[in-house]
Symmetry: C2
Subunit: 243 residues, 2 copies
């Protein structure tokens, strides 16, 4: 795969028009390629001196555990996403990262990352932009959990995932492969697994979406968008800001 085609490079390029030199600096950032099995945490809260990763294939989730034993999934990451940036900057990880499926990712050592920022400031700005986009997603989840009811929230979530996957070529307007269990959906949406199940059934019975057999099939996109009050502005790249 050529440098220009890496999904992460493509994403950053959407904000900052990267020069050949910047692209190769970005390429050198990709360290050792590692594989992780599903289910065993890559990084756990409180861990120090870990690396960041650029996700090449598979899905992971970032979550926090509460004292009562419940967990809240903050976000899922899909191919092309950057993992653990925040934890590297803080030195000690503030959340857990668990592979949902088998995962392949390039390690990005903390020292390399910081050194690269010093030498390639536009890359630092691009990463800041990418981090802001992640924050925008977390904000949208917060709004959903705080003020949307279970059905809207579920619909919104499925639409957001679809929009993100489409950007990296893993979804079409009619659906996508989705390895998440209903338990994970529940932990991401702040609901119980039982209730998620009921909401999914309703969405199916309304002819809007199905979430079954590892696939999401969107049967009525407009209806779903209307129900969820979905506005994908916060996910969009509208061309480089920095020329």
């Amino acid at each position: 795969m050529s440098i220009q085609q890496s999904p992460f490079a493509r994403k950053l390029g959407a904000f900052v028009a990267l020069s050949g030199e910047e692209l190769s600096a970005l390429d050198r950032l990709h360290g050792r390629r590692k594989t992780f099995p599903a289910g065993r945490d890559i990084v756990h809260e409180g861990q120090v001196n870990h690396s960041a990763y650029i996700l090449a294939s598979g899905w992971v989730c970032s979550y926090k555990l509460l004292s009562g034993g419940t967990r809240q999934i903050v976000d899922f990451q899909i191919p092309g996403d950057f993992l653990g940036l925040r934890s590297v900057l803080f030195r000690t990880a503030d959340h857990n990262i668990e592979p949902v499926t088998k995962v392949e990712a390039s390690e990005v050592p903390a020292a390399d990352l910081l050194a690269t920022f010093g030498k390639t400031p536009r890359l630092a700005t691009a990463v800041l932009w990418a981090a802001s986009r992640d924050e925008a997603m977390v904000v949208e989840h917060l709004v959903g959990i705080g003020r949307r009811d279970a059905k809207e929230r579920t619909a919104h979530f499925l639409l957001e995932l679809g929009a993100r996957l489409k950007l990296v070529g893993l979804a079409t307007a009619s659906g996508y492969a989705c390895p998440l269990s209903q338990y994970m959906l529940a932990d991401a949406l702040g609901l119980s697994a039982v209730h998620i199940n009921r909401e999914l059934r309703e969405l199916r019975e309304d002819g809007l979406v199905t979430f079954q057999h590892g696939k999401v099939e969107i049967h009525d996109l407009d209806g779903l968008v209307a129900l969820a009050d979905f506005d994908k502005t916060y996910l969009d790249h509208d061309g480089p800001l920095l020329k």
Copy 2:
């Protein structure tokens, strides 16, 4: 006020040891000082070509409005905080910013910010760190709304605010001045104003905190921390990562 004493410079300095030159670049970033009255939005969602701001005095809140007319407050900003960074990087604002009180802030034009990053890469890294800290707060709010009940959530919120205010010298271990109404608390915590009122009464009757007359008084810090399962790691600066 000397450069080194600006709360924003102090905050960035906690992550990156800033040189004299970097500090003066940071200082030049502070543009025109502006004053905003309480209640009228500084930035509204969808707005383009607005500036970012560094908050000098007063409180503001960042919020989103939903189609149903409800709103979700994402965070409050206090003196020393950076406002609207995300919206500047996206060119079009993805949330509203409303002053809670009368506010004084230095304007930071988008172009100046990006130019400074190019010339002073360590400053870009420092701002990335500050943005990550903000994201960590949003994540903590998400976890609270998703998995904590109303009482824990309220307690957690009051503790977080206290910890943040203490960092800029606006709180002591026993309390702080707080201009928020119960309605704003409700919109921040994803609860109804009526229910917030009941929870505040309970916290008061339990001898933990009072939230009255524009003041928060903490009567039993340990009890509150235990109730809220509060771990302030995510707010801490533990010394410069970049020397």
